[in-house]
Each structure stands twice: as C-alpha cells, then as structure tokens.
C-alpha cells in the first residue's frame, strides 16, 4: 500500500542574495519514508534543507507539505506544522544550558519539557542527562551534535530534516542514532529526510535516495542501489 505524499517540491528555486543555488529542484517524499539526499560538497544539499524549513526563502516554485503550500510560511510556522530541523554544524544555543536548549525545542508544544520526552531523549543520548546544566557552548563537538538531535526529538515532529547528523559523532553512537531513528520511524511513522556523507549510516537508515548536483536532482536511487558501492562512487565522485 503506498502511503500518502507528505512533501513535494515543484520547480523549487532558492539561494542567497538573489543567486539561486537550487535550480528548479523537485522531490517527493511519502509519509513514513526515510529518504537520503546525497551529493558532493557545495551542490546545495544544506540549501535544500534550509529552504524546506524556511530559513532560505523560495524564489519560485512550491513546497507542499501535508497538502498545504508552505513556501511562504516563516520558519516557525513550518516548525509548528511538525517539521523538525537538525542543521549542519549543530547550531546549539551556546550560552544556554543543555536543559534550556531542549526546553526551546519543546516550546512548540507549550509548557515545559514533558517527562516522557525527557526520558526518551536522555535514554537515547545519556550524555545529555549527565550534562543537563552545562552550557551547550562548552560541550564537545559530538556532544553538541547529539544535543541538536535531541532538541528536535523532544517535540515529536512529524517530519525530521537531518543535515549530516553523523558529523563528529563517535562510530558506535552513529550506529545507535541510525538504529534509534529507524526504530522511531517504525514506531511513530515519522518521516525523515537525511543529508549524509556517511555511507554506512545511509545504508542503515535510508529506504531510498536522491542524488543532487548543481542544485538539481540528478538521480533517484533505490535501496538496492545504495548497497552497490560502484554505483555510489559514480554519483559521488568529484
């Protein structure tokens, strides 16, 4: 049974200072999917994620999320529609404590941090529990990355945009994250769009993948193709 489409972009053009980076990009993601986006440095993967969440405005084209055109909504409204965003380079709030960072993530739901949610996040990333009142800016790189993921999970998003979540994280936790995400996806049906360079993580998580180059989708890969090392190298070669 094919699930409903949760997100489509049509002819999406977006970029910085009047220069488009995304050049009419089109993707389609279904409810409950985990889709990877791969591509070389600087092709626009992060730009895509930012324009989906609303941090880079769309110059033209449309973004339809759960049947609603959202390309004109500001970022916070999209977040309230259930999009969660883990940026590349973590972007934690450096002078807030770990707990406060997570409280910001939980704020969409109103009220404080729900105890169940806290248990879940701390369960997935024990270091966050241990360092609950350390200021985030003084955490190690990998710890910050874990915080950035935990901060989004606390709000039970409907769709998660993960931009290179494995960056700077130790190998066994990368495996844990992949496992946790897949498990979360099974349990709650959350949709995940994953930008990643770590092939192991992609294979462990993604059901299929888009290949991006120069602001466009140049190929769409099935799960089987992801396992094909030669095929992958062809798409990612410099």
């Amino acid at each position: 049974m094919r699930k409903e489409v949760i997100l489509t972009t049509l002819g999406l053009r977006a970029g910085y200072g009047g220069k488009p980076v995304l050049q009419g990009l089109e993707i389609e993601v279904r409810e409950g999917e985990i889709v990877a986006v791969i591509g070389r440095n600087g092709v626009g993967k992060s730009t895509l994620m930012k324009s989906l969440i609303g941090l880079v405005p769309a110059m033209s084209g449309s973004i339809v999320y759960r049947g609603e055109a959202v390309e004109h909504l500001p970022a916070h409204k999209r977040a309230r529609l259930g999009m969660g965003y883990v940026p590349q380079g973590r972007d934690v709030f450096p002078r807030l404590t770990v707990g406060e960072n997570i409280a910001v993530g939980a704020a969409i739901k109103g009220g404080g941090i729900p105890e169940v949610g806290r248990q879940r996040v701390v369960g997935a990333f024990p270091i966050l529990g241990e360092r609950w009142s350390q200021r985030a800016g003084t955490m190690s790189g990998g710890q910050q990355q874990q915080l950035a993921i935990g901060r989004v999970l606390i709000a039970d998003p409907h769709m998660i945009l993960l931009d290179e979540p494995s960056e700077g994280i130790q190998p066994n936790i990368v495996q844990d994250i992949a496992r946790n995400m897949v498990e979360l996806n099974r349990r709650t049906g959350v949709t995940i769009i994953l930008v990643e360079q770590n092939l192991d993580m992609i294979r462990a998580m993604a059901q299929r993948a888009y290949v991006m180059d120069k602001g466009r989708i140049t190929a769409s890969l099935t799960h089987e193709a992801l396992d094909d090392a030669a095929e992958m190298r062809r798409h990612l070669a410099v």
Binding site: Y85, P87, V92, F93, P94, L96, A103
Partner: protein, 290 residues
C-alpha cells in the same frame, strides 16, 4: 555622632546610589544584554516614562498609576521602534548605534517642539523621616525597594519562565530558534518592549525627584552603560552585582571626596573591573559555574 546613625547614613547613601544605577541600567541591560542592541536612545525612553508619568499625574491620576502609565507608554513606543527600525538591524548590531542615536535626536528635539522646553514637576510624595541628626526622604527608600523588586522580577522572568529561555535562545542563534518553532519576531518585540518599559519605569520613578526637560535622559546614560557593560549579559548575575560594587565605590568616594571623585571613582572602578574580568562580571560568574 553615634555609630548607628553613621551606619544608617552610609547604608542610605549606598541604597540611593544602588537604586539609581540599577534602575537606570535595567532597561538597557535587557536590550543590550539580551539582544545585543546598543540602545543610545535609552535615555529618551526614560524621558518618555517621566513625561507621561508627570502628564498623567497633572491630569489627576495618583502617582503609582501615573508611573504605570509611563512604563506602559515607553513599552508601547518600544514596540513601535522595534517594529520600524530595530527589527531590521539584528544582523548588524553595531549599526543600531547609529539608528538609536538618530532616534534619540528625534525624541529629544521632537519633545522640545511638541511639549516645550520644560515640564512642571509633580512633587515627591511621602515626606521625610529622621535618624539621629539627619532627615531623609522616604521616597528614596521606595526607590531602593523598587530596584530590588525589579531585579527580582527580571530574574524570575528570564530564568523561570519559558519566555526567558526563548528570548535568550532567539538572541543567540535566531535562525535556529525560528526553525524550532519560536516566533522570533514576537520575542524580539516583547524583549525590546520589556527593556523600553523598564526604562520608562525608571523615568516614572525618578520623575517626582527631577527636573523634567527633554534632555533629562542624558543624566542616566553614563551610569546605565557602565553598569550594564561591566555587569554583562545576565541581568541578575551581572547588573545586580555591578550595581552593588559601583554603588559602594560611588557612595564611598562621594562621601569621602565629593561628587567629582564619586564619578571619577566610578569610571576607575569600571576600568579595573574590566581589566580583572575581561568578560564582565556575569561572564566571569558564568565561566566559573560550568
């Protein structure tokens, strides 16, 4: 003269200086500390609060209500200013110096044109009391209490409420806060309004004790900036101790060598504090805490 009288007078002078430093600084601390905006129109928000307070009292309202009106009026002007000007400058905080300088010119001269060069005062309430050979103004004690109250309220607001955390998050990484669902524009407006309102409150509280002229804000500015900057970003961990230290220095130096030394002592204290704690007091406290 007995020790108790002396001790009380020292305490009173300290409290007086402390109240002035803290009340002048709080609004600025919120706007600068929280938002990174250097608000050179701070004095004019104070003036606005004082003028509205005086005007409403002349119109027949009791003083506390007048002060409330002054506070709200300043906060309202703050919202407007934020919407029209400051909002567009968060990416480049240094430019806010120019913009707010411009606003302050508009405000002082505009007031001069519209309201005239002076405004009649409202008179200080409550009268005086006697300790030993000296008589003191009761209202000054009220000011001290108000300073403590404002500090407490701000601490509660920014540390215990969701608004505080969201505001701080928004100021630190605005795009990320937005991506997490925080309505950053609203937060900015509210924070700025809060700072402007506090300035208005300071103006309202001091209105009965001062000459009301369009340039009256200038007398608060130096103390306010000095307190805020060496206090640093955190209102409670910064402004309060900074106010305390500077009040001791200022009241001590003033009673010892007169007002000039009080002021110069204040400035020297600032230089020493910054030299010893290059990140200000709250920078120091926060570093130690982690």
């Amino acid at each position: 003269m007995d020790i108790a009288t002396l001790a009380f007078s020292a305490l009173y002078q300290f409290g007086d200086a402390f109240a002035f430093l803290v009340l002048s600084a709080c609004g600025l601390a919120v706007i600068f500390g929280m938002m990174g905006v250097i608000n050179l129109a701070h004095g004019e928000f104070i003036m606005c609060g004082a003028y509205v307070t005086a005007a409403t009292v002349h119109a027949g309202l009791p003083l506390p209500l007048g002060i409330l009106c002054g506070t709200l009026a300043s906060a309202f002007v703050g919202v407007l200013v934020e919407l029209l000007v400051i909002r567009h400058l968060y990416e480049r905080p240094l430019d806010t110096i120019v913009a707010t300088w411009g606003l302050s010119l508009i405000a002082t001269q505009g007031t001069l044109i519209l309201v005239g060069s002076t405004m009649a005062g409202v008179g200080t309430p409550f009268g005086s009391f006697q300790v030993g050979a000296y008589s003191y103004s009761i209202y000054r004690i009220v000011l001290f209490a108000a300073a403590l109250g404002v500090l407490g309220a701000l601490y509660a607001l920014f540390n215990w409420t969701r608004f505080g955390v969201l505001a701080r998050a928004t100021i630190q990484v605005p795009h990320m806060a937005a991506a997490l669902g925080v309505d950053t524009r609203l937060i900015y407006s509210l924070t700025f309004a809060c700072g402007a309102g506090l300035a208005g409150l300071a103006g309202g509280l001091y209105a009965p004790t001062m000459t009301l002229v369009p340039t009256m804000g200038a007398t608060f500015i130096m103390e306010a900036f000095v307190t805020v900057v060496i206090g640093g970003a955190d209102v409670f961990l910064g402004t309060a101790p900074a106010g305390g230290i500077l009040a001791i220095v200022k009241s001590g130096m003033t009673s010892w060598q007169g007002q000039l030394f009080g002021q110069i002592g204040l400035l020297i204290a600032v230089i020493i504090v910054v030299r010893v704690l290059p990140k200000g007091i709250s920078g120091f406290v926060l570093r130690e805490r982690t």
